[in-house]
């Protein structure tokens, strides 16, 4: 089995996949990759299923060594990527020769993804390979970890795509919740007119939002019975600040929720840099369902948008290394040494 060795890993580096749906009744949220779209983009770049496990890097750094030739793809929040000293293009797939050392650094926040042909083959727990830190499933990766890979059925490397724009904040669409009507109409309107940003209190469970001005707390004394909560729910906690629930959120909660962000808009929240402006806009359930369906169709068609990487020799510090990782023949060409 092909294997990779973790040389260095910063905090917040975990194995992720689409998560484990089906356990809400037993208190376990789905979890999985924070930016679900990045999973689809990586799968398209490698020509494989988007259910494969990948490495998620939460605003941190990672260095790995390939113990065998392997194909990789880099998606999500861009980082500086080097293979044995040569720069690699982000939002693209590459071939690594056996023994190659891949260095990912310079994150400016958000979530970055490293995909492998065949996926990471750690044991599945409850049907998924993703770490669910809040539930105590799996853990952050550490120097010295060895991860096996599944069989890569093969395919091109050196492909790129233009990612859906989601790295600069913007307007997030939301639907009403069963509690939206508890908020006075003028407060809901003020909410949609307020500019928010991510504050430092954010993790895989949820993201607190910062803002100037008055908060959005409901009149005191109102107590709500806990009910089901879902990722994207915008809880208003006691201090009046919004807290957007994310992949590893609890399964039930008693805070009032002013709205629920559309799943297809959540990547824009999780990938927003700290300083980026975020706004919210109510849409009807019908419009939200239509948006989700349109995005599902767009994602299903992503493979058709791939382009081969265009290389400008003047931009390459080490032409030979660059050719090596793009799969062009050299003595230790990955394709040849694999055969």
């Amino acid at each position: 089995m092909a294997e990779l060795l973790v040389r260095r890993a910063g905090p917040g580096v975990t194995v992720q996949d689409p998560g484990r749906p089906g356990y809400l009744a037993l208190g376990l949220s789905r979890g999985g990759a924070m930016d679900r779209l990045a999973l689809v983009e990586g799968a398209a770049l490698l020509g494989q299923d988007c259910g494969f496990a990948v490495i998620e890097i939460a605003g941190s750094f990672l260095s790995i060594e390939a113990a065998a030739p392997m194909r990789i793809a880099l998606t999500g929040a861009p980082m500086r990527a080097h293979c044995d000293g040569a720069a690699l293009v982000w939002q693209a797939s590459h071939a690594l020769p056996s023994g190659a050392r891949l260095e990912l650094s310079g994150s400016r926040g958000g979530y970055s993804y490293l995909h492998f042909g065949g996926g990471i083959d750690v044991p599945a727990i409850l049907g998924a390979r993703s770490a669910h830190l809040a539930a105590g499933i799996g853990r952050m990766l550490d120097a010295g970890d060895r991860l096996g890979l599944g069989t890569d059925k093969g395919g091109a490397a050196g492909m790129s795509l233009t990612p859906q724009e989601r790295f600069a904040g913007g307007v997030l669409r939301m639907v009403e919740t069963p509690q939206t009507q508890l908020f006075p109409a003028d407060m809901c309107q003020r909410f949609t007119e307020t500019t928010f940003c991510k504050d430092a209190r954010g993790n895989r469970m949820g993201q607190r939002l910062g803002f100037d001005g008055e908060g959005f707390a409901l009149p005191s004394g109102l107590s709500l019975l806990s009910e089901a909560i879902v990722p994207g729910d915008i809880q208003i906690t006691g201090d009046g600040a919004p807290f957007v629930l994310l992949a590893e959120c609890q399964t039930t909660g008693g805070y009032p929720r002013i709205g629920t962000v559309l799943p297809c808009d959540l990547p824009r929240l999780v990938q927003a840099p700290a300083e980026a402006a975020l706004r919210f806009q109510f849409v009807t359930l019908e419009a939200a369902v239509a948006a989700e369906r349109a995005e599902a169709a767009r994602r299903a068609d992503l493979a058709r948008t791939l382009r081969p990487l265009i290389r400008d020799p003047h931009d390459m510090a080490d032409l030979l290394a660059y050719q090596l990782i793009s799969g062009v023949t050299r003595g230790d060409d990955p394709e040849r040494s694999a055969s």
Partner: protein, 253 residues
């Protein structure tokens, strides 16, 4: 007014069906926690699962409500709501029997000491001595009203009305796995170590969620839990020797 009339009145606008998120539906059987509303939620969930409705991807209960996640690639809200409406109208859910396959768990618990430091405080709020408080908690089985918040974590109830004590205003920074805490006539057994506003009155050696096991979840909604007060020495012994935390289950009905 008879008891049944009172129930009807309280639930006159129930059950209420509303969208929850883009792909979910919430069916609420009451905005207050009552025995009837909790039974209704448990029974309705079992019925939805049995009905195998097309496009329903997942069903879960909270205390008095049922959440359904839809697969919008093979159904839509209108179709799902129509099917649910039919099911809701098929009977009075508030007098439904409890689901089949329930179990009674006898669970050793250490009350008070430094391992459960808020027994005195909670007992005082309930107007009881610490010893009487422990006896009262162990007097009758408590139902798993729902499992939620964290994996395998039960909300147990309902305690007698003297236990209608508020959550603390501040948070306890961290309670350990197996902690037994009380507020608002309910108890929570913690499956993960977490901050909480509930008062920590007992400590068990239970592990409610063990992801590496074939069946990682110990309890199911509808199960009952009867706590049995043990000494510090007995607790330490159970913890050291019994991976099941001393819990013994028997089938109910």
């Amino acid at each position: 007014m008879t008891g049944s009339d009172a129930t009807q009145t309280r639930h006159c606008r129930r059950p209420a069906m509303q969208p929850l998120g883009v792909d979910g539906v919430s069916v609420s059987f009451g905005s207050d926690l009552t025995e009837a509303a909790n039974r209704a939620a448990l029974a309705f969930r079992a019925s939805v699962e049995g009905a195998d409705l097309p496009g329903v991807a997942e069903v879960a209960t909270a205390l008095t409500s049922v959440y359904l996640r839809l697969d919008l690639s093979c159904t839509d809200h209108a179709t799902a709501r129509a099917a649910l409406k039919g099911l809701l109208a098929s009977r009075n859910w508030y007098d439904a029997a409890l689901p089949q396959g329930r179990r009674l768990w006898r669970v050793p618990a250490l009350f008070g000491t430094d391992l459960a430091p808020q027994l005195h405080e909670a007992a005082a709020l309930a107007g009881l001595s610490p010893a009487d408080a422990a006896t009262a908690i162990c007097a009758a089985p408590l139902r798993v009203q729902t499992i939620g918040f964290a994996p395998g974590q039960p909300y147990l109830g309902q305690l007698p009305s003297q236990w209608d004590i508020p959550r603390q205003t501040g948070l306890t920074a961290r309670v350990p796995v197996g902690a037994l805490a009380v507020a608002i006539r309910q108890m929570v057994l913690f499956s993960v170590s977490t901050p909480t506003g509930w008062r920590h009155v007992g400590q068990t050696a239970l592990r409610l969620f063990q992801p590496e096991k074939d069946d990682p979840f110990l309890l199911r909604p509808g199960d009952e839990v009867l706590f049995q007060s043990v000494t510090r020495a007995e607790y330490e012994n159970i913890r050291a020797t019994d991976p099941a935390g001393g819990a013994v289950a028997e089938r109910l009905g």
